[in-house]
Every structure is written in structure tokens, then in C-alpha cells.
Subunit: 116 residues, 2 copies
């Protein structure tokens, strides 16, 4: 369930999914929200999400992500784990390689959290 | 000038303000974007922004921010400096106190950067 962050007090009624309209964000919601933004707060992870999202079928093999970001596979795996743990990407192991997809709903929830 | 991040390749034409439609984000843009999300990646800073945004006139004195987050004034000042440096808040010194406002355009740009 996405968490919406009323950073700016809504003026036009209730917002989807549990936001307490017009109130200051709770400590628990602030922690959940900050966790997502922390995962986004690194240029390599931003690039990785962008690369995956721009892939032809919206899916990228880790074997295709190392070269564009110029990092080793363990380092890319580490960054991807943080994105997966934050709910921003999914990981599927197929044979030798891990394949990643962006979780569009999570990005949209993060986007909504910043909207007036 | 806000930077828009094509995390998800746009499908409906150009996006405002310099996004290269449908392409993978550049290293420079990823760095600028990650800097903003890094500032948002802390629960205290999320709470501070929310508190300021929810203030009656959209402005909050640092003297009114310390108690709600339960931190000392130097610590709150430190967090606020990171938000100001990231362009997410403005600071105005009036007499003894600093007063802060949320930069709505910057939040909106960050929100846009995550939109499909």
C-alpha cells in the first residue's frame, strides 16, 4: 500500500490511500517516505532506474547494467538491492542472471507524495 | 531551472524544461536529481518540510520547529541547511530567528521527475 505524504497541505479534499488530509505527516509515515527517497538519493541508483525503465520491455538483466554505469556487478547488485528493498524495483533470478523491473506504482506514490 | 528526470520514458511528447524525451538520464542530471532526493531521504527533514508547509502562512520560524521534531536548534538548523542547499526551502533571517518556506516549484519538479 503506497504511503502518500502531505508535504503540502491538500486544499481540495481527501487524498487516496490513507493520508490524513491537511495534517502534518506522522513520524511513521515520514520514516516510510524517507526510506524511498533515500534509495533515490544516489546518482547511480537514479541512473539504474532510468536504464531499466528505458529498456525495450521494461526489464533489464544485471549483465546489461554494469557497463552503462561503469561499475562492477557486485556494486550494481548492491545498489539494486537498495532499490528492491525500498520497493522501487523487483528482482527475478533466471538461471545465471538477475532481471529487474521498475515498480511504476511505487514511483507514482513517491511522486504523489511531493505533489501540492 | 528545475531538472526533470525521465525515469520512465515519456510516451506523449516532450516534457518541460530540458528533458531529453525517452532517453536515459545523463550523469549530470542524475547527480542533480539525486541531490534533491538525498535531502528528502531523512525522516526528520520530511517532517520539517511537512511542518513548514502546514504552517498557517506557509512560513515557519525555527523557534517553532524544534519542539515538534524533538531536536535541538543546531540540529534542526543543520537539517534545514541541507533542505535549503538542495533548493527545497528558503531561509530568511529576521532579527534573532530564521524563517523558512518550502519551495513549491522544487517539490513539483521532484514530483515530475518520478512521473511516468
Amino acid at each position: 500500500m503506497p504511503t502518500y505524504l502531505p508535504l503540502l497541505a491538500p486544499t481540495d479534499g481527501a487524498v487516496c490511500c490513507g493520508t490524513v488530509t491537511g495534517s502534518v505527516i506522522s513520524v511513521a509515515d515520514a520514516e516510510r517516505t524517507a526510506r524511498v527517497f533515500k534509495a533515490l538519493g544516489d546518482p547511480t541508483r537514479v541512473r539504474l532506474l532510468s536504464l531499466i525503465a528505458a529498456s525495450d520491455d521494461g526489464e533489464a538483466c544485471i549483465c546489461d547494467l554494469t557497463e552503462p554505469v561503469g561499475l562492477s556487478q557486485p556494486t550494481v547488485s548492491h545498489h539494486m538491492k537498495q532499490l528492491v528493498d525500498a520497493g522501487l524495483a523487483t528482482r527475478e533470478q533466471r538461471g545465471r542472471w538477475a532481471y529487474y523491473r521498475v515498480v511504476t506504482d511505487a514511483l507514482d506514490a513517491a511522486s504523489q507524495a511531493l505533489r501540492p
